[in-house]
Symmetry: C2
Subunit: 213 residues, 2 copies
């Protein structure tokens, strides 16, 4: 893994090549999880053999791309102020990082095919926990719903981000609009639902006492 670990000594141009390859892999794989190594090399502007000189297998390349995307995501997330009202914090977080998170989600599809199962969950653990904690805090503040499992809520957010990125790439949603759509949708999903009765279901959750009627 020539990416982050301190290789004993590498020349500057090698460093540059690796950076371009990883960047190309991120964009290519997030667009098409089955993008070939050759495609990625071409997109990076290097020969396929140069790529194989730095990444011995496709799996190594995919892992490097995913790790780099996650690192970028972590960086973006950690620069967001998560204090104060959880709803506003979530809005700030989504506005500034929806594209990165969506990219990570898309990349993880490629990773699922090339990496052992455990390795993927391992890489996803930290960022996922971050979002979970924010949601949990919102629940403690009473501004987020508690009638649905947190894992489900996190997952729905992931899927929405992925959908938003795809709609954006397909040209059906302007880039400037994505943030608003995602935030409005996420806000609705996480908001405490009105005590409105659910008519179809006699057996309703009844597990959530948020604000007494």
């Amino acid at each position: 893994m020539p990416t982050a670990s301190a290789g004993p000594r590498r020349r500057a141009d090698a460093e540059r090549s690796i950076a371009r390859i990883v960047s190309a892999a991120r964009t290519a794989l997030s667009g098409d999880p089955d993008a070939s190594v050759d495609d990625i090399a071409k997109a990076a502007g290097v020969g396929r053999m140069t790529l194989y000189g730095h990444f011995r297998t496709r799996a190594e390349l995919v892992e490097a791309a995913l790790a780099d995307a996650m690192r970028a995501g972590e960086e973006a997330l950690s620069s967001v102020d998560l204090a104060g009202d959880a709803r506003e914090a979530l809005a700030r977080l989504l506005e500034s990082s929806w594209s990165l998170v969506a990219e990570s989600v898309a990349l993880s599809i490629a990773a699922q095919k090339a990496l052992p199962a455990g390795r993927l969950r391992e890489l996803h653990a930290a960022p996922a926990r971050r979002v979970e904690e924010l949601i949990a805090r919102g629940q403690d503040q009473g501004v987020f719903r508690t009638d649905l499992p947190v894992s489900w809520l996190v997952n729905v957010l992931h899927y929405i981000l992925k959908g938003a990125a795809e709609e954006n790439r397909a040209g059906r949603v302007e880039t400037g609009e994505v943030g608003r759509l995602v935030i409005a949708t996420a806000r609705s999903i996480l908001a405490v639902p009105p005590p409105d009765a659910t008519p179809g279901h006699p057996d309703v959750s009844a597990g959530a006492e948020v604000s007494g009627p």
Copy 2:
């Protein structure tokens, strides 16, 4: 396309084989869009050559599987009473057909790789319009939001259904729970948002504490 069109004359066992192949293709492809023809034949309990005897190309097989899933979805959808309150109608619709719609969405990924682009949209047009009409009716009734484009809402529903099916398959959500989760989430997304906070405005009601600490 030996599926639905009235073939002039086919023997009963051929009919049975085709049915098993299409069924196997539906489950296999919705789980893995890249499932090979051989995998599908094995899952159907027939030889690969038998399969090729009925479907000349992989594309034909994928299209038949998708068409069959869409047909089943249409059937399920058309048996749902869509009259009355749009929210309750949507709940009924989701409860009785979330798995089918999720399967169709998953299958369309396989179709995207094997079918010409136009063919896919053509197959998706009718069911998508159905959901769009229901949402539009809810908007007319004043029970669904109008601040987000309908196409976005439909898309988000698709992604949530797909996510729910995947969570279910991964064993993280019980089958009996999926309906409730999907309905609760969809309801929140489509509900008219409270005039509470406008995401674009920095001037949010300063003391917006919902329930005291």
